[in-house]
């Protein structure tokens, strides 16, 4: 059991150091000799997984900061430069952006585990509160990190969240101005968020140290919820917990890698691939998924101040949990009622999350209010009452007894599945009713879809031709340089061909020695020149609507696939909303709008454009672009080709990503298998 360290170094140097700084003893007593309950299940590996994720975020974050420029005019561009030009930049960026989500998935599981097994109860109150503090810090860090790419959601998310503080009576507006460092979210805001986003992870690491320290003072809770009494109840941390945690971490990495390599933008919002525009608010502002339940609570309350208070209370109430739930029995395993209410609470949280992503109208508002009320009811009324009236089942005498009388674990998993399935069905019912009659783009089959997807070089070349001859008259392609045409995983031109194409363009350069700007033939390092000098010019020339840059279009457009399809999309790796939308839009023009539709002057009717009224006239017609590879010269073919081309411009490292993904997956699965058998061997002596 815990006590003075057993660590006795043999080596003379280590002895010398140990007498002066007993760091070896500290490490030994914390991570080697530390006794851990022998009945811990895999839900307990999430502590280690969280430490790993904090490490991943700090390492990738420090590296991204080496390439990132925190300036309102350059931030978005620098992020694109990281993804497109820096060696493995795409990997590091996707690791970091998806890593944030993984961090939150792990922390939510960790928290729910604590709730289920009563890990917050005496004597672990401080341990639990430190955890709540870490969670709050994580939310602040995640929020500020999301602002840094300076896309539309970054900007408007920052605006909405900072405005929460304006609800504070009297001083609210001054506080918001203080946060912004200006009259609105702008460059000073971005700069300070960058600074704080760099700082907070280290603060988190500091609180994590306290969290672990507190843990090592009071010892780990366990599924039985009884304290270890004898040597027989525990095993030393190393090798038992170490190997089990390693296996858990590797399995989690498989899950993580799936997102990074196959569905890197699944959890992101397409709007964030549009550069921040202080003049246009996106149709729907949705925070990152991990804030959605709290966002739903905020919106459920029709009063500004009360909404903000409710949202923050929803988190702060957790800190009071040790005193709200006074039941002596810790583990919900032996509390039949508490266990059922736990699962109901899980479903309520998931429901709130779902509602947070939906527009605040109709049935969603009512559902949001009911679930918000239940959320607080659970903590403030249900748990205090339950702890008085519930009759708990007998708990095992010791952990060793618990290990011998194993059962129930499967039952818990079973009930979880039943509850989740029921919740799923309910949601499907709710959603299929409210399904709008909006037309969604047909799902086309793309060569670059799926885990082994590759671009069809011929198609990308044809798409480039369509872009050059048609789209480029109005749309820029700012992030694509001529040299990119010769990059691996692209249209497959040689460097000479790329240089030859570049030299057909006139590029503005200068100033020269006499201070004049001049034109010269393009070089491979130059970027496709824009058709208009600035946004105002583009706007005037196009009936008041500036044609957007197309480089990222295939990632900046999406549409709702609805529940449960959006969950299956994760498994089938469906990532082609953008190209589907582009191809559909180009073919979606209709001469005669529906009779009841009022088309504004100078606009055209498009079936797939949100709102149906688009400023762009039908750009393509059959036979307009001549193909020399025999592909059909139809609008349908042009549309598909240019959509595929734009998928490449938006995600130029797609092939490299999927290829590396396969290698990483195979490696991780082998490692997980080896760790599993090693774990079995190690634990064979312990059971």
């Amino acid at each position: 059991m815990s006590g003075p360290s057993q660590y006795q170094p043999q080596n003379a140097v280590l002895k010398w150091v140990e007498r002066r700084l007993p760091i070896g003893g500290l490490i030994h007593s914390s991570f080697i000799g530390y006794p851990t309950p022998r009945n811990l299940n895999y839900w307990w590996t999430f502590g280690a997984i969280l430490s790993m994720m904090l490490g991943v975020q700090i390492v990738t974050g420090i590296i991204l900061a080496m390439h990132y420029t925190p300036h309102a005019d350059l931030a978005f561009k620098s992020v694109e430069a990281i993804v497109r030009d820096v060696n493995y930049g795409w990997l590091l960026r996707y690791l970091h952006s998806n890593g944030a989500s993984m961090f939150f998935i792990a922390v939510y599981i960790h928290m729910f585990r604590g709730l289920y097994y009563g890990s917050y109860k005496e004597p672990r109150e401080v341990l639990w509160i430190l955890g709540v503090i870490i969670y709050l810090l994580m939310m602040a860090t995640g929020f500020m990190g999301y602002v840094l790419p300076w896309g539309q959601m970054s900007f408007w998310g920052a605006t909405v969240i900072t405005n929460l503080f304006s609800a504070i009576p009297y001083v609210g507006d001054s506080i918001v101005t203080l946060l912004w460092g200006g009259y609105a979210v702008g460059n000073p805001t971005l700069n300070r968020f960058f600074s704080l986003h760099y700082l907070l992870p280290f603060v988190i690491a500091g609180v994590v140290v306290l969290h672990v320290w507190a843990l090592h003072v009071v010892g780990q809770n366990n599924p039985a919820g009884v304290e270890p009494q004898t040597e027989k109840d525990t095993v030393p941390f190393t090798p038992y917990a170490t190997i089990k945690d390693s296996f858990g971490m590797t399995c989690f990495l498989v899950f993580f890698a799936w997102f990074v390599f196959y569905t890197p933008n699944y959890l992101g919002d397409p709007d964030n691939y549009i550069p921040a525009n202080p003049g246009v608010t996106p149709a729907e502002i949705v925070p990152e998924w991990y804030y959605l339940p709290f966002y739903a609570i905020l919106r459920s309350i029709p009063n500004k101040l009360a909404g903000v208070v409710a949202m923050f209370s929803a988190i702060l109430v957790l800190a009071f949990l040790p005193w709200l739930d006074g039941a002596k029995v810790r583990s919900a395993r032996y509390r039949p009622l508490a266990r059922q209410f736990f699962w109901i609470f899980v479903v309520v949280c998931l429901g709130l999350g779902y509602l947070g992503s939906k527009p605040p109208q109709g049935i969603y508002v009512v559902a949001g209010r009911i679930l918000t009320a239940y959320y607080f009811f659970h903590f403030l009324i249900l748990l205090p009452i339950l702890s008085r009236v519930e009759k708990a089942r007998p708990v095992p005498n010791s952990i060793a007894d618990d290990v011998l009388g194993k059962a129930g674990a499967l039952k818990a998993v079973g009930s979880a599945i039943v509850v989740l399935a029921a919740a799923g069905l309910l949601l499907i019912g709710g959603v299929s009713q409210s399904r709008a009659e909006e037309e969604t783009p047909p799902t086309l089959s793309w060569s670059f879809a799926g885990p082994f997807g590759k671009f069809d070089q011929g198609q990308i070349q044809r798409g480039l031709k369509v872009y050059k001859e048609v789209c480029s008259n109005c749309h820029s392609l700012n992030y694509i340089a001529f040299r990119n045409l010769a990059d691996a995983g692209g249209p497959g031109y040689s460097e000479e061909q790329a240089a030859a194409l570049a030299s057909t363009y006139k590029i503005k350069d200068g100033p020269n020695e006499t201070g004049d700007m001049f034109e010269r033939p393009g070089r491979p390092a130059d970027y496709f020149p824009a058709p208009f000098a600035n946004e105002q010019q583009a706007r005037v020339a196009n009936g008041g609507a500036a044609p957007p840059d197309l480089s990222l279009m295939a990632k900046a457009r999406g549409y709702d696939r609805g529940f449960p399809t959006f969950i299956f999309d994760l498994v089938t790796q469906f990532q082609e909303k953008g190209p589907n939308y582009i191809a559909a839009l180009l073919q979606g023009f209709e001469e005669n709008p529906p009779a009841d539709f009022k088309l504004p002057d100078g606009s055209y009717y498009n079936k797939y454009f949100p709102g149906h009224s688009i400023k762009m006239p039908k750009p393509l017609s059959d036979g307009q672009v001549t193909y020399d590879d025999g592909a059909p010269q139809t609008v349908q073919q042009y549309a598909a080709d240019v959509a595929a081309f734009l998928m490449w411009t938006a995600e130029p490292k797609l092939e490299a990503r999927k290829k590396l993904g396969l290698q990483v997956m195979i490696f991780l699965i082998i490692l997980a298998g080896l760790l599993y058998f090693t774990k079995k061997k190690v634990w064979a002596d312990a059971h």
């Binding site: 080496m66 430069a81 820096v86 930049g89 590091l92 070089r523 390092a525 490692l671």
Partner: protein
């Protein structure tokens, strides 16, 4: 517990070693991208493409400085006197022996093209200064002659000649 045989032992040891080895390989592989990202990125490399320089405006006895790959390049139109001085010295007596002919392009003997970075610790030497009618580095006093060769001071080597070629009599392509 059953008594374990030595075969079982060695099988177990093999499993442990294999697991450790695979984990170690994975760790090393994971470090690779973290280091590789420090190298120049694709746009930097692309910007380092060859450049062309027009020599016509450079009068005899003048030197200009252009930048290629973020490095200053001196292009010096040498006078007869400078060329003669550079060729008069005994090559074997130089700290970094190299003939003037080897440092210029045949038929274009008046043009000296060197990277203007002192081989001592990287300062930019000043053209047409110092005791050898060439370059003088103000940082620690290295002296280069009219062929850009080190003659005196702490620098260990001659000013480097970048890769270049004559596109025409009055145009060179550096890189």
């Amino acid at each position: 517990m059953t008594t374990s045989t030595s075969a079982e032992h060695s099988r177990r040891d093999f499993l442990y070693v294999a697991t450790g080895a695979v984990a170690a390989v994975g760790t090393v592989a994971a470090i690779w991208p973290l280091v590789s990202q420090m190298n120049p990125d694709a746009s930097t490399i692309a910007a380092g493409a060859p450049i062309e320089v027009d020599l016509a405006p450079i009068a005899e006895g003048q030197a200009i400085k252009v930048f290629w790959r973020s490095k200053p390049i001196y292009i010096m139109n040498r006078t007869k006197k400078q060329i003669e001085e550079a060729r008069a010295v005994a090559v074997s007596s130089l700290p970094d022996p190299q003939s003037d002919q080897a440092r210029v392009k045949e038929g274009h003997d008046q043009w000296l093209v060197v990277i203007g970075i002192c081989t001592h610790l990287g300062c930019i030497p000043i053209a047409h200064e110092g005791s050898y009618d060439g370059f003088f580095c103000p940082c620690h006093g290295s002296q280069y002659d009219s062929s850009g060769r080190i003659r005196q001071g702490p620098a260990p080597a001659n000013l480097a000649v970048p890769p270049y070629s004559f596109a025409s009599d009055t145009r060179i392509k550096i890189g």
